[in-house]
């Protein structure tokens, strides 16, 4: 078995408001291995999005240890977290989250623009075009996101997540805003990416899509309820 690219131990997350404390995560232990496809499911409010945010360094855990590729990242500064997010993580959101004012091309190029060590323009251009091709949207490069359908927008979002060659792709209900036809297409694309070696961690409500993952995690009240045996990536169900 390959080395885990990320490892979580005893991660908790408490949201404190004036009236009450919400324990969104209560001690999550989790390792994800390179090339894996992990799905996370569970009832609404059980902490799936919270877990994904912490996995992607969008949020900091209240306590616990979190290592990405062997480096402790649980208590990084916001700026350091941003750098790691930029270099190692790709996000795909339910609501696409494309920037309306930017063209499709510029949306995809954005993560490269935020690179700490800037990438030469020609190389960046090559990468963007490659990703556009990969999601089959080369012909729409100069469009604005609101000129595209939901399915097309999500494909652009996938391209944007891929452009920086992340070690980990985090996906939160990628099909939630799509009809089943477009949803299937997006899932097919993700599966394809995984088979090409991209590590995937996806939150979904849809059991059909959850089944596509090599490993399914069930989250209940902020804890992983039934850890499943880890299948080797190439054993994944089709």
């Amino acid at each position: 078995m390959s080395k885990p690219i990320l490892h979580m131990a005893g991660i908790t997350k408490v949201f404190s408001t004036e009236e009450m404390e919400t324990h969104a995560l209560r001690g999550v232990d989790l390792s994800i291995y390179s090339g894996e496809f992990v799905s996370i499911c569970g009832p609404s409010g059980c902490g799936k999005s919270t877990l994904l945010s912490i996995l992607g360094l969008l949020d900091l855990p209240t306590s616990g240890s979190y290592q990405i590729e062997g480096t402790e990242v649980a208590q990084l500064t916001l700026s350091e977290a941003a750098t790691i997010r930029n270099e190692k993580v790709g996000f795909i959101f339910q609501s696409f989250n494309l920037i309306d004012e930017l063209s499709v091309y510029d949306n995809i190029a954005l993560p490269l623009r935020y690179r700490r060590n800037s990438i030469p323009k020609s190389e960046a251009d090559k990468k963007v075009k490659h990703c556009l091709e990969k999601v089959g949207m080369s012909h729409r490069a100069s469009h604005k996101p609101n000129q595209l359908s939901g399915g097309q927008q999500q494909r652009i979002a996938i391209a944007r997540a891929l452009v920086g060659n992340p070690s980990l792709l985090l996906v939160d209900e990628p099909t939630g805003n799509l009809d089943s036809h477009n949803g299937d297409a997006v899932m097919e694309m993700l599966r394809q990416l995984n088979s090409e070696g991209t590590t995937l961690c996806m939150v979904t409500h849809d059991p059909r899509y959850a089944d596509m993952a090599g490993r399914q995690l069930h989250l209940l009240d902020g804890q992983i309820s039934a850890p499943q045996p880890i299948k080797e990536p190439h054993e994944m169900a089709l």
């Binding site: 949020d59 916001l78 941003a82 750098t83 997010r85 993580v89 609501s95 997540a161």
Partner: protein, 811 residues
């Protein structure tokens, strides 16, 4: 139309948005209040009639002396000429002689110095002076009657007699004469300040008692200050031609008096009629109008702020409006509802502004009594009231129109159908940019102007005088009834007085003189020096008689030569000192040491020293001449006292009394006080421009913050996405800053387009205002710094938290 129902709905809805309403009413109320105060002031100065009967026919007649067609003396008149014009009844319906002077009251304790005006009986009638007690002067007390009576001002009555109702039985002693008080002017009488801004007469005395020496009263060759004629022109008479005719008459007399004296200089006199209003206002309105311009800009900056607030509120109220439209409201209903709300706010702002104007008018009256004419008359005019309400109405229409334009009524219709999705109404990015640009442009303009004035005034205030000012007191001496005593006797008294003062434990040195380089009330004496006895091409100089201690007490350094020493003073040596300016004017090389020049009499004077130029703020140093001597008629004493031990009037009067009781201190001031008086206008400028700058910057800060934080709020999710894909917080700040700076830079560029031609014009115009680089660069830097801080403040909540919080802004 708008009904009371609409109004009460608007009131209720404002009541629910109290902080919004308060912010708008305060912002506009305060800025409008400043504008209204200045409107009131300028209206008073420029448009309100003077409070005197037939004020448009009241004129001052003053003489000017020309030598070789060049103006040599301004507002100096020949005594007999004034009397002749007074007696001439072809131009004036009524005329009055007036002489503004000062004297000490000898029969009151402390011998207070008061402003005295010697007048012929018509003067107080021309001014329409109402009385609190007694009567004005009557015709029996006119020219050549020598009846010793006095009319006192209400303030004098209050301060010197504690409003004693029996004041009419009392008298005031000036010199050796007791003047019986016959009247007290009313509290609301405002004396026309035709001589000097801020000078108020304490006691009016009959003209006959003025201190002009008898021989001067018939001398057509002498020109005297402070004396003038006032008169009410007969209806239909043109003041210019009246002046022309008077000048011809008087010049004929003058030429007759000059006849038989050989002189190469051609002299002539001119008597000109100046309207009361011009005399009283002088050139004071330039500054009050400039400040009014400043407050107008402040109001406009505030309007940009309020536009943003009102638009954001309209954007928030979209849903309510959409529901109203769905329920059948027409465009005009929505507009009227808006107008009601905005109208109420503007009304509130107008009322607040009037209240503030009422208060600030009192403050201005207190603070600028010396600087602004007619300030005692100042009250809120009804014209000002109309002005305030009109401003409020205009603002209400303006804001309603802007909001109404921004609301897309068709989009409102569709808003509910599309289940509240879609971007509804936001303040468009263009409007946001225009708001920032215009605000920045106006703020920059105002600050650049304020800062230039501030720096100029500040430079003057801090400019060294060329000699130290500490520990020196100057006093003018009133000589009472010694006016007629022999010169030698008076000289003896003065020397004895100086000697006594030297023995005073607080005194280090004393000098008898005629003036100091900083003069408070005394105009400087002008005489001329010539290269030869024929007095061709004389050089004019401000002249002071000095003794050997003068320069050392004032610590005025010599650049060449030496001072005249005590021994030479007692001799009849003809020695003079000149300052650098005079040296230059006498000899372009400036080499005057040892040279001889003709001053008075037929024997030349030798220059023994050149005094370093003083540098009085804002003034070119005039040519100054120092001649040895003692002035026995208008003596002045310069005292060097021990550090921090100034003498009081009483202390000095006690010393005088040991020599001769007739000598009294008339006016006592330290050089520092003289400087402060000289700089009082500049201090007001510093004060006003600082206030304008601070208010403008605060308004701009609030306004720019409002718009930028609104934009950032709209971009919250987008910034969250950028953070999610790995933008560092600093990068987000940097990009937001660039975005905010674009309209700011446009605004600064706009201001530059206006300012640069203006500055170029100013620099070559007569104002010759010295502009400073700091004054140009500081305002844009301040505004850019301000924008940076405001941007940081707006994005701080986003970049200082994990990205997920901004991202979640969606829901």
């Amino acid at each position: 139309m708008i009904t009371t129902k609409d109004l009460s709905i608007a009131l209720q809805s404002l009541n629910r948005a109290r902080s919004y309403a308060t912010t708008i009413i305060l912002t506009l109320g305060i800025t409008l209040g400043a504008l209204v105060t200045l409107f009131n002031l300028n209206y008073q100065l420029l448009a309100a009639p003077l409070p005197y009967p037939d004020e448009d026919r009241l004129y001052v007649v003053n003489g000017n002396l020309y030598q070789n067609k060049q103006l040599r003396l301004e507002n100096n008149s020949q005594y007999p000429a004034l009397v002749e014009i007074y007696k001439n009844d072809s131009f004036f319906e009524s005329s009055a002689l007036v002489y503004f002077w000062e004297d000490v009251v000898r029969n009151l304790s402390g011998s207070p110095r008061v402003n005295v005006s010697y007048v012929s009986p018509e003067y107080l009638q021309l001014a329409g002076a109402p009385l609190a007690l007694g009567r004005q002067f009557n015709t029996d007390e006119g020219l050549d009657s020598r009846v010793p009576v006095a009319v006192i001002s209400y303030q004098t009555w209050e301060q010197m007699f504690r409003r004693n109702p029996n004041v009419l039985e009392q008298s005031l002693q000036f010199g050796e004469v007791d003047f019986r008080i016959v009247g007290v002017t009313a509290k609301d009488f405002i004396e026309p300040q035709i001589y000097k801004q801020g000078r108020q007469t304490a006691v009016w005395l009959p003209w006959d008692f003025n201190d002009t020496q008898i021989e001067r009263r018939n001398n057509w060759r002498g020109f005297l200050p402070f004396r003038m004629l006032t008169g009410k022109l007969k209806p239909g008479i043109d003041p210019a031609s009246a002046g022309h005719e008077l000048s011809t008459l008087m010049d004929a007399q003058y030429q007759a008096a000059l006849a038989g004296r050989s002189s190469s200089v051609e002299r002539s006199v001119e008597y000109r009629l100046t309207p009361f209003a011009n005399k009283i206002l002088a050139d004071s309105t330039t500054r009050t109008l400039m400040v009014m311009g400043g407050t107008l800009v402040l109001l406009l900056i505030a309007c940009a702020n309020v536009t943003n607030l009102i638009l954001s509120r309209a954007a928030k109220q979209q849903r309510t409006m959409a529901i109203q439209v769905a329920l059948g409201a027409h465009k005009k209903h929505i507009f009227f509802a808006l107008l009601c709300e905005i109208g109420l706010l503007m009304l509130g702002a107008a009322l607040l502004s009037l209240l503030l104007a009422l208060g600030s008018t009192e403050v201005v009256k207190m603070m600028a009594a010396e600087q602004i004419p007619r300030i005692q008359e100042l009250t809120l005019n009804w014209q000002t009231l109309v002005f305030a309400l009109l401003c409020a109405l205009l603002l209400a229409l303006f804001f309603s129109a802007i909001v109404s334009r921004q609301i897309n009524y068709r989009a409102l219709n569709q808003m509910l159908q599309s289940s509240g999705k879609g971007s509804g109404v936001q303040i468009s990015p263009l409007i946001r940019k225009v708001l920032i640009s215009s605000q920045v442009a106006m703020t920059s303009l105002l600050i650049v102007a304020s800062l230039q004035i501030f720096l100029q005034a500040n430079r003057l205030i801090n400019q060294p005088f060329g000699f130290p000012l500490d520990s020196v007191q100057v006093m003018t001496l009133n000589i009472g009834n010694l006016r007629g005593a022999p010169t030698a006797e008076r000289e003896g008294y003065l020397k004895a007085i100086r000697q006594r003062l030297l023995e005073h434990p607080k005194v280090q040195n004393a000098s008898l003189s005629l003036n100091t380089p900083i003069s408070i009330s005394r105009p400087l004496w002008t005489t001329s020096l010539s290269h030869d006895a024929s007095r061709q091409s004389p050089v004019m100089a401000k002249t002071t008689v000095v003794d050997e201690n003068y320069l050392s007490i004032l610590r005025m350094p010599l650049v060449a030569g030496r001072h005249i020493n005590a021994a030479e003073f007692s001799d009849n040596n003809r020695m003079i000192l000149v300052n650098e300016t005079l040296a230059q004017q006498l000899e372009p090389s400036g080499e005057v040491l040892g040279k001889r020049f003709y001053w008075r009499g037929d024997r030349p004077y030798q220059v023994v020293g050149v005094v370093r130029n003083a540098s009085l703020p804002g003034k070119k140093e005039p040519a100054r001449l120092f001649v040895r001597g003692i002035n026995v008629s208008y003596p002045l004493l310069v005292l060097k006292h021990k550090p921090h031990q100034p003498l009081s009037t009483t202390e000095i009067n006690q010393e005088f009394a040991q020599v001769n009781r007739q000598y009294k201190v008339s006016e006592l001031f330290s050089l520092e006080q003289a400087r402060d008086l000289l700089l009082s206008n500049d201090r007001v400028s510093v004060w006003v421009t600082t206030a304008l700058t601070i208010i403008a910057l605060s308004l701009a800060a609030i306004g720019i913050f409002g718009v930028i934080s609104y934009s950032v709020q709209l971009r919250r999710t987008e910034l969250g996405v950028r953070l999610a894909i790995g933008a560092r917080p600093a990068t987000i700040f940097y990009h937001t800053l660039i975005d905010s700076l674009i309209p700011v830079v446009i605004g600064i560029a706009l201001a530059t387009l206006v300012v640069v031609p203006l500055a170029l014009w100013l620099e070559q115009s007569e104002f010759s205002i010295e502009t400073s680089l700091l004054g140009w660069l500081l305002p844009p830097l301040l505004i850019i710094g301000l924008t940076a801080s405001v941007t940081l403040l707006s994005v701080w909540k986003i970049i200082n938290k994990p990205a997920v919080y901004a991202l979640r802004g969606t829901g």
